[in-house]
Amino acid sequence: MQRTFQAMMLGLASIVLALVAQESNVVLPQDKGPDKIDVSAYPAEIQKDYKLFSSKCSKCHTIARPINTLMSRDEWERYVKRMMHKPNSGISESQGKEIFAFLMHDQINRKDKNPKAFFRALSDEEIEKLKTQK
């Protein structure tokens, strides 16, 4: 009987933990935005880069994250390099350049025209704050 009780408690504890775990999910504001861009008006080369960007940059995080983030040229350059240098990014140097070309084109031709519709990148501390608020 005692073992059964312990097992039931364990099962119930697992539910509580699962629910707590759910509540702790971090969803950045960028993640909630659109996860596609209409690139039909972009040059053919940039449309090709967009395909590469969609494939490579959705491996570890939502593709909505970079699509809805505003950054300066230097910041994009730094971020692309950071992502490229993740041990398993699968992004070569030439692919990194193509992804950067797309991001800069998109920044200038879409985001800079309506910056209020996008979010600036959050620092680790701001993400932590977001979690605390949640």
Binding site: A18, V27, E125
Partner: protein, 430 residues
């Protein structure tokens, strides 16, 4: 309905699966994210080719004491200290606890002296994991609690570790119950892979009841070196663990035998995601021979394993894996007879093709040539094919189908058994 007292897991499984159901229907889109992915806001593929097979990031994450490898380590300035990694991320329960459940349908046909054919729906496992780094310290912990697995519940793993140094040159010491051969090693040497079971080469038992597939209690340590941006990684690990009793169970408390097992592993990762591993194990245990007969006696064989494994991921698509494992165990038939040897030369090959992210087809082949005291070799061959597909973008719900065949010749009795298993399983991690 009267439930057997021998199956208390059923009582644990009912609320756990009620919880699982609730979570599945809960409208939050990011509900089913395991703890580490939750902690960093990333998908499973950050650290796995497909869970649970680790990639280089996952390997480094583990070697750094469950801390994310920094992505700006260019070698021009000192790499961050271990205690500085992830320091902005505070500890909370949701970032530290994860659940895993797996159910399956299987159809199994065995041939040989005890031929049988059966099919069944199964609850394979329900596990709770807790793990991570303690923020702004060098300590980390990992616990695997089995609510249910193979009819048992209890602690599968529980260890505490201290990791020091910097991200490019670190060392760790850990103590507790840990898997003998797990994510320590490049992918071809890992127990966790894309198939439901580890490769036959790694799990095969010997006539003295020893298998690398165990989680003993002990202490371990290691050193990890990484070049700028982790392009090359060298990991050295060693463990001293309790030995085994005559029945193959682990020595947990005092033993007059004072038996200890020694394990060493050296891994070198190169390129985008390839590596080689050398591993060796040396231990001694009591072996009861001719059990239950008038000729029963106990002796103490030395058990040795030497393995060389390697893999390379081509074009981020095709992962080719291979390995060789040499086994040598002392062997004695009669009390006054000479001590001879049971030896195995085992090989494995595997090809995993990632059709797209979260969708892989795989095939593997294992061949073991086993000899006792110079007798003709008994051969065991095993092959398996399968496919698996992640049902969520995060990669935390996976449907898998596999078919495996094993032809096993017992090196002692010479009897032959065959096993054909078809299995479809669904794994949920959250």
């Amino acid at each position: 309905m009267k439930l057997s007292r021998r199956r208390p897991w059923i009582w644990a499984a009912i609320p756990a699966f009620a919880g699982l159901f609730f979570i599945l229907v809960y409208p939050e889109p990011s509900a089913a994210v395991p703890a580490f992915a939750r902690k960093y806001g990333v998908k499973c593929y950050s650290c796995h080719t497909m869970p649970p097979a680790l990639n280089k990031t996952g390997y480094m994450f583990k070697r750094l004491g469950y801390r994310m490898p920094p992505d700006e380590m260019d070698g021009t300035k000192p790499a961050p200290k271990i205690s500085e990694l992830d320091k902005a991320i505070s500890w909370n329960l949701g970032n530290a606890v994860a659940l895993l459940a797996q159910g399956s349908f299987s159809a199994d046909k065995t041939g040989g002296e005890e031929a049988s054919s059966k099919s069944s729906f199964n609850l394979d496992k329900a596990l709770v994991f807790a793990g991570g780094a303690l923020p702004q310290t060098n300590f980390s912990y990992f616990v695997e609690f089995k609510l249910f697995e193979d009819g048992e519940s209890g602690i599968g793993q529980a260890s505490v570790a201290y990791t020091g140094g910097r991200a490019n040159s670190s060392f760790f010491g850990k103590a507790g119950r840990m898997l003998l051969q797990e994510g320590e090693g490049t992918r071809a040497a890992m127990m966790f892979n894309l198939f439901p079971e580890a490769s036959t080469l790694l799990t095969a038992g010997s006539p003295v009841n020893f298998s690398l597939d165990q989680a003993p209690v002990g202490v371990g340590g290691g050193y990890t070196w990484a070049s700028p941006y982790f392009k090359q990684v060298l990991g050295l690990s060693a463990k001293v663990t309790n030995g085994l009793n005559a029945d193959g169970s682990e020595i947990l408390f005092d033993s007059q035998r004072n038996s200890k097992d020694f394990w060493f592993d050296a891994d070198y990762w190169f390129g985008p995601d390839g590596g080689v591993t050398f591993m060796t194990y040396n231990g001694r245990k009591d072996q009861v021979q001719n059990q239950g007969t008038p000729d029963e006696f106990t002796y103490r064989p030395t058990i040795q394993r030497y393995g060389l494994f390697g893999n390379y991921l081509f074009f981020d698509k095709l992962d080719l894996l291979g390995g060789y494992l040499r086994s040598r165990d002392d062997w004695k038939d009669t009390l006054n007879g000479a001590t001879t040897a049971f030896t195995v030369n085992g090989y494995r090959g595997e090809a995993d093709y990632y059709l797209q992210r979260g969708f892989a087809v795989m095939g593997r082949y294992d061949r073991l040539s086993q000899t006792i005291a110079g007798e003709p070799a008994a051969r065991t061959t095993a092959w398996a094919v399968g496919a698996q597909k992640a049902l969520t973008e995060l990669g935390n719900v996976i449907l898998r189908a596999t078919y495996s065949h094993e032809h096993n010749t017992d090196p002692v009795s010479g009897s032959v058994t065959t096993d054909n298993l078809f299995k479809v399983d669904l794994r949920l991690m959250w």
